[in-house]
């Protein structure tokens, strides 16, 4: 299987879907002539032309709403948020239009749209450019939320998202763009709503999504040396959440650690913890622990930023705790 970057995987997914279906178009800041702020759309303007690859003014609310309208009227927009931090300006159109039009219209107005871009922290980008807001989108009925961690998932899930007839919030990661992995060639759709066990294990379940999956796998590898077999489960899709796979894993390991980059209070991990205690109450041998981003706006200073982000060590500590190893 070819080994490509997460960036290239996303690029292939968009290219293939745009070739397959003329109604698919890409819109966002710098996606065209500039080839994308993070070069995800490299070459797409050349291949598909300015009718289908549109550079927008800096008007997140306007062009996201325009995308929703275009989707209502039969197109299949891919809207790139240069980063998801800027989606806050568009959130009214995402929540009040994209997520509700189908329901409010009694099923008449479908909004097949993908809103994609990097979420979470980069490197020292400061408080306004380092937010992981997936729990917000997960809260909203009518939206689907996808957070791939590997190139293969990125490609397979983006293709499925573009074909989905609902609005999909597709959250990537600046830090993952350069990572490499095997990606099957051609048509390989990964269904939305299906988790994957990234690493099997029987002593503890570590649940992580997006780049935290890599942190979890790191920790698992290290733990193995201590004879601790951690199972790493990646939901891949946060909404709808594949609770069956998560619960099944916890029922086998009886212990759970949830890792997320975002803020702790009302984070996605809280919902996952609630789901686990509800469905696996009698199987739990220890409280569910969460490893999250620090409960602060992201500081610029490197040393402070480092303290904010979950790392291998903190995940291992949590695992030790749920195993009462210290």
């Amino acid at each position: 299987m070819p080994i490509i970057t997460y960036r290239e995987a996303l690029n292939q997914a968009m290219r293939e879907e745009m070739r397959r279906d003329d109604r698919v178009f890409l819109m966002g800041e710098e996606v065209g002539y500039y080839q994308g702020a993070y070069k995800i759309s490299k070459g797409l303007l050349d291949e598909f032309g300015p009718q289908r690859v549109l550079d927008t003014p800096i008007t997140e609310l306007g062009f996201t709403g325009l995308g929703v309208g275009a989707a209502m009227a039969g197109l299949r927009p891919i809207v790139e948020m240069m980063t998801f931090n800027f989606s806050l300006l568009a959130i009214d159109q995402i929540v009040n239009s994209a997520a509700k039009l189908l329901y409010m219209s009694g099923g008449q107005c479908k909004v097949p749209m993908v809103i994609r871009g990097p979420g979470g922290a980069g490197h020292q980008l400061g408080a306004q450019h380092s937010q992981a807001l997936e729990s917000w989108f997960c809260h909203v009925p009518g939206l689907k939320v996808v957070t791939p961690a590997t190139p293969a998932d990125a490609k397979g899930l983006l293709k499925s998202s573009v074909r989905d007839n609902n609005t999909v919030i597709f959250i990537e990661s600046e830090v993952l763009y350069g990572t490499k992995g095997e990606v099957p060639e051609g048509e390989n759709l990964i269904p939305i709503g299906v988790a994957e066990i990234k690493r099997p294990g029987k002593h503890v379940t570590i649940i992580a999504h997006s780049k935290m999956v890599l942190v979890a796998l790191d920790a698992a590898q290290q733990l193995e040396k201590e004879g601790i077999e951690a199972e790493v489960v990646d939901p891949r899709t946060l909404r709808p959440l594949d609770t069956v796979t998560l619960i099944d894993s916890v029922k086998r390991t009886n212990r759970a650690v949830i890792v997320e980059e975002g803020w702790p209070f009302c984070g996605v991990g809280a919902q996952i913890a609630d789901t686990i205690q509800l469905h696996a109450f009698d199987y739990l041998d220890a409280p569910i622990l969460r490893v999250t981003g620090a409960d602060v706006p992201m500081p610029y200073a490197k040393n402070l930023e480092h303290m904010c982000l979950p790392d291998k060590e903190r995940v291992m500590d949590a695992v030790h705790q749920v195993l009462y190893r210290k």
Partner: protein, 352 residues
């Protein structure tokens, strides 16, 4: 560099494509208009008026709930404008959209049933007064967030151009909506990308209780188009034929040249902001409302049609009888329709 820039700006100074408020009287226009059209316009205005008068009663009886914003007094705008459209065209409106839906030919029974919250409503009872949708008619809502429909309409126009369907999109909003960001972002996008959309600002003088003079630094709202190099027009929104003519021009511009237009229609709201709002609160006097009622678009139009000999008193009464029947049928239909089945609660949150 400055020179190169000024070259640019010379090529692109805010040209003011201002369509003079058209001079002719309503009589003049009537004489130039197909009698069938005139009759149809009057019928629609009366239908909307009677429909909403009845809706107001039903609201006080508790048959209709939630927010209910009446269009009474503004009928000439929506009806004149929508009379210029073709089937392939689209319409998006704010929450004050009963009149536009009816003008577009959405079934009165299904509209009333929606206000009742019945399964047989246009939006299956899930939308209510603020969220009427009939996709088969290109009627795309009914939107409750001020300005929310403006980017959406811009996108619908974008799709029509992208798909080469040659459709035109009408986007209606109130004068208070011009101050919100989505108006600004959308008009720039439409002008920049040359989209076939017509923005119709229904200036009824108030956003709830706030007069335009206290919400916008510029009162001559069509001039907002200057900031986007967009064609603009201002029209007497109480004159259904004047509205029709101005919008027809804009539709032409959109369909032939794929260019947007901003139109300000000066009108007035005869009722309260919504059914939960008094007709004239602290923010305006009964005198002011009565003064404006003297310009009732239906009264004006009926008088015109009679004066130019297009209609007799009897014709008018005949039409009125007819529309009242339509309204009563709509009420009867709504009364006998079922509430949505409980199983509908979780339907259409997502689609296959």
């Amino acid at each position: 560099m400055d020179s190169s820039n000024s070259a640019v700006s010379a090529a692109n100074a805010a040209e003011d494509h201002f369509a003079e408020p058209a001079r002719p009287t309503q009589e003049d226009r009537a004489r130039l208009t197909d009698p069938a059209v005139l009759k149809n316009l009057l019928e629609q205005m009366l239908l909307v008026r009677r429909f909403e008068e009845r809706a107001a009663e039903l609201y006080t009886l508790g048959k209709i709930g939630g927010f209910c914003h009446l269009y009474i007094g503004q009928e000439a705008v929506g009806i004149g404008a929508i009379s210029t459209l073709r089937p392939e065209d689209s319409i998006l409106v704010s929450y004050r959209e009963h009149g536009h839906a009816l003008a577009r030919g959405v079934d009165p029974g299904e509209v009333m049933a929606e206000l009742y919250g019945k399964q047989s409503g246009v939006s299956e009872g899930k939308g209510g007064s603020m969220h009427l949708f009939d996709k088969t008619k290109g009627f795309l809502g009914g939107h409750g967030i001020v300005g929310g429909q403006i980017p959406l309409a811009t996108g619908v126009a974008f799709a029509s151009k992208y798909l080469k369907q040659n459709g035109v999109t009408l986007c209606f909003f109130g004068e208070a909506a011009v101050n919100i960001g989505s108006f600004h972002e959308s008009l720039n996008l439409a002008a920049l990308w040359k989209l076939p959309v017509i923005y119709i600002c229904e200036n009824n003088r108030f956003g709830m209780g706030t007069p335009v003079e206290r919400s916008s630094a510029l009162y001559d709202l069509s001039q907002k188009a200057l900031g986007y190099n967009m064609a603009r027009a201002q029209v007497d929104g109480m004159d259904v034929l004047a509205v029709r003519d101005v919008v027809m021009e804009a539709v032409e511009r959109a369909r032939k040249e794929s260019l947007p237009t901003l139109i300000e229609a000066r009108t007035y709201r005869f009722m309260g902001h919504s059914m939960s709002d008094p007709v004239h609160g602290h923010y305006r006097t009964k005198g002011e409302v009565d003064e404006h009622k003297r310009h009732d678009p239906i009264k004006l139009f009926t008088a015109t049609l009679e004066s130019v000999g297009q209609l007799t008193q009897e014709d008018v009464e005949e039409i009125d009888r007819k529309v009242r029947e339509v309204v009563e049928d709509a009420v009867a239909f709504s009364e006998r329709s079922d509430d949505p089945h409980p199983s509908q609660l979780h339907a259409d949150v997502y689609t296959e």
